[in-house]
Symmetry: D2
Subunit: 368 residues, 4 copies
């Protein structure tokens, strides 16, 4: 496969930054999933650029559902969403069209596509395409909500400022839905924003760490080898531009723990088997254990910075200097958060559909 | 798919700890790959238990190639390897058969397989199965070597002791092949071993971090969305038991870098386009850029420890106490290293075969 | 997977008969394939309804390439085509919305989608969706032509009238491109049309047999088990609505042949190894042998007929009588021909891309 | 994919005619399927050579279950079966090693594997490998039986002699399980055998047509495009060596029917919606409709015949003459019947597992 993800619920995304539209096709999702347009809009809104900490390119990102939806419910056949590109300024890029932007895919894309790629605004590599990914993920979230499975992502760390950790999953996950700058501690969020603006003023950018939690995940989902729950989620998550690392539960901290510290002890509490701790991030042997699935992703600083940088011309191979123009984000981490939520929703939906069949997310139905 | 990995080169593994044998099938590998049995044996040897830092279960791990090999070359049809289980002591487990071992998959497996799973020695979840994975990866490495693509993994960190970083990739990668305790700095390795033995004496275990490098990787391999090179490698790597995190290039450290620090500037050196730094770990936009592909994995401390632990009985759901008997490793990180190399080889082989076709790794051939 | 086909070149189709548009995404096709819009239009034109032997619903079927094309060449990233639905008359169906039309998928779709399916005009099951399939196939044909691989389909038999067989493949395949009623013997075609019109006058419909040839196919493509060339092509071909059988080479006639009659003897003619006959349809052991790949498909008579038929109501399960209104084809075989060509092109493109890699169909390229 | 079939239930087969063993891995099958060794043995027995109408190579085909089975039930993890090759006479082939046998894959395999293929006894292309396929299919049948889904295949036609059609599906399907020469009309079977022996005496071979029925198939399984039930079954069936055509329901006969004759009218009989006829072979729009799934396959005459034939040498490309020695079947159709049943069982199991989830075939279970 390629730009498609999933075994039973499959998402394909397409489009370029400066084309007429971008979009996504979701295939294999249960019929009878009620679309929650408030949730979908909240996710699209969170991803969309706003304020000083984001690019000045604005798109309204209205989703046109051209197939697979009838009367607000999924039909079960391929669901296609189109999002128009309106605010396109290709001129920004023409001067530097053949100069590889450091930290971007310009050079690696040239090696793969031999000059046939659409380089305008990053083309198919543009963060713009994550609008389609976010839309697809939001539809999958609507399915998950039918099963009381909730997902949210907050900024665990940005430019040296740390958010607090989850303490009351359900309430905090619900509160994060409406936040455009998704932190649990809003005061920490303000300090993060100040750091982002300062970087922008220095013609620079910053990165951070996102933390995602999935609650309500049934135990027993995932495979022991290859299609582990960690493997499937990480496969999806590395699609989010700028992510360079992922860790589940205690993650890299396990390197410093003894087995006796790291093991999560199972316990029967009032008739329910749960675990006393969650260093495993809800996954043992590749399979969910019923605890919250928790993971963190490292998001790199936006590669598009206004500073002068050394580079090469991808046509001639000659050394050159680039000063990137255009409208860019001094940080993408807050905008990456709903995209990580989205790909997680897609991956979890797919795993659950494999486990429980194609009607798992259906609600109701009429006739025979 | 499930316990199979790959789109064009596909590896399926099977077997249980206490069954008659474990094994792997490799399908789609080019015909005409010469098997380098020295390399294969070195990988198997590195994974096999030895000395005080490992379990006392010893297996000779002789690989029986039952299909897909003729005169020492791959035929191009499914290549099957069987490895006999000889040194089986099921008695070790019978007393605690229904007690979920903390940190293991016993509870999550019960939720998935409803008691039909083979629990003896961890069954299909056992680290024993990694012998098959290592064998499959070693065959894939033989293919990669035909294209001068080399892979190695060293222990970057164990129990607080840090190895040095790669400085001369090719020489160091070659030197690591023969090391059963794979470190670049052997003195650091001795200190790691001392820490492992100390943990063992405390009836405990330790974890660590592995670092893997792939050199000779052609630029232009990977996809912008979903089947990114990071996504494919991480999908494979999380199959290695005990891995809870992965990071590429600068990894989680990107959270603390400015864009101007993190961007790798392309440069033409003597007619070759390369990059001045490698914070991207050889991957931009999901696609290889020709630099070494470098990543690190977090390996948790062995969950099987001799200390008393709280747990539940998976049949009755009642709380209980477990004291794990049997032969276990106080650390698995050194044994996990060749397994990470193996899954990386499988993933890279698959990606290259998709990119360049099914004859990519063939050498020679006769007739029409 | 579901409504997506292919391992390396993947085609996803979407849309409903009475939605705003239908479309297709092609992923994994080589960059640098020049689109031949004359060919694409010819295929779309052949599929489109015309004249007395077809439905009166007319669509201009203009293809909007919204991604994956730059300057008339494929970029190598997902190529998306949209085709607007303009001539929609949902009223035709409202009266009979819940009556299962005999020979259609109304009942089986109800069992699968539980009433959430879009039933208007057949919804996602409508022959209308084949416009997207034809467009996707035509783009794949543009890639194949770069390698001198040509495909055509003619009506071997319709309503008892038989066309002649291929005698000069290349010339005949080229001549078929422009024919809207694709027969080798135009006089036979006139007799077929007369039979179709007669059936229509009787409020009935007719079926037939299509024959497809692929020339220029390299030898050595396909797998011995499961992904045989026959298996892959037939998997694709049964997507064409109304097809109920497929046979390769001598096909069902092999049942009446002796081995000595059926075996195709290889022979070296002027330095080229070919075969004296082609009973195998160009495929031995699932793998192409360099001869033309030839197969025939049975196409059932259009199920939508104006005669009164017994049926059930899919909401109530009660017996009822249906008299189908609306605009329908008394035969679909001539319109199915370009669709069979299309799915064949998709399947062959995918197989060749697996065999020879993702650049196989590229032409030229610039820069590094 | 390659020599693996399936999305949720995946079967991989491996081995060569003259290797130490052949085998299959089934992954994704539900835990808790009770293996019915009587059924499995009956299928293996039916496939095995016996009597005058078959080859003289005899193998006892004992299946060694090396993983995935515990106490006679599937565990849900990969189930591996090995079948030893005992009766190997490679000498039979050495004289003609490089002469392409007409009707075999020798030439096409050479084009694909460049001389690295194992040519002894047909290597991986040998009908011998169908023993593994039959074993895998028989295990899948055990799962289907849990859901009252039954499959059988009879010889509809052989060498001009016709069997009668199914009249009482359930009774006839059950009666076919024990028949080594699977016909509904045993007297017709005797005439078929006489024809086969006559062909053998003429150093020749014969083909035929198989008919398969699946009863108990739930309605609503399959996809409208690409993964149609016909497409998935045909994809699997063309793996059976020698099959050159497949038709569902009325099949190629639809070409001669009017729509009013071909349409199956739905009807409510005693509260159950069924159809008055079954020209669709139980499938509408790619989706099962609850009627028996019925299809026929054309099986070519055995290509290995003792007569002199023209051919080429695959090393030198020169014309030559071949007289095939060795032990061959004058007809394979009776031995192909259980193999068609097997691949059908695999395909149906996979489709049902996608539809209803991974526990669909489980029976019981203990504990939490």
């Amino acid at each position: 496969m390629k730009n498609t993800f999933g075994t039973c619920v499959c998402v394909t995304i397409f489009g370029e930054s400066h084309g007429s539209c971008i979009g996504a096709v979701i295939d294999g999702l249960s019929p009878g999933v009620k679309l929650d347009f408030d949730l979908i809009n909240a996710r699209m809104n969170a991803r969309r650029a706003k304020g000083e900490v984001s690019t000045k390119r604005h798109e309204d990102d209205k989703i046109d559902f051209v197939s697979g939806v009838k009367n607000g419910f999924t039909t079960g056949t391929p669901l296609t969403m189109l999002i128009e590109n309106k605010n396109v300024r290709s001129g920004d890029y023409s001067k530097t069209e053949f100069l590889a932007r450091p930290g971007h895919a310009d050079f690696s894309a040239q090696c793969k596509y031999h000059g046939f790629q659409d380089g305008r605004g990053g083309g198919h590599f543009s963060g713009r395409v994550t609008a389609a990914l976010t839309a697809a993920g939001a539809v999958c979230e609507c399915a998950l909500i039918n099963k009381n499975i909730l997902i949210a992502t907050h900024i665990a760390n940005c430019a040296g400022v740390t958010d607090r950790v989850f303490s009351d999953y359900e309430a905090e996950i619900k509160s994060l839905v409406r936040k455009v700058f998704p932190v649990l501690d809003d005061e920490a969020g303000e300090r993060m924003k100040a750091k982002i603006i300062k970087a922008k003023d220095n013609l620079d950018s910053v990165g951070g760490v996102l933390e995602t939690a999935v609650i309500g995940m049934p135990a027993g989902v995932g495979e022991p080898w290859f299609d582990t729950l960690e493997g499937i989620i990480s496969h999806a998550v590395f699609s989010v531009p700028g992510i360079k690392g992922i860790e589940f539960g205690a993650g890299f901290a396990v390197a410093g723990l003894f087995g006796s510290e790291n093991n999560d002890e199972p316990v029967n509490k009032d008739g329910i088997v749960t675990h006393l701790t969650n260093n495993a991030g809800g996954i043992n042997g590749g399979i969910s254990n019923g605890m919250p699935v928790v993971f963190r992703c490292a998001v790199k600083p936006t590669p598009s910075i206004a500073k002068r940088q050394n580079t090469v011309n991808i046509l001639t191979g000659e050394n050159d200097i680039i000063e990137i123009q255009g409208r860019h984000d001094p940080a993408i981490i807050h905008r990456a958060a709903p995209v990580v939520t989205a790909v997680t929703a897609i991956a979890v939906c797919d795993m659950l559909s494999q486990r429980y069949g194609t009607d798992y997310f259906s609600v109701g139905g009429v006739g025979l």
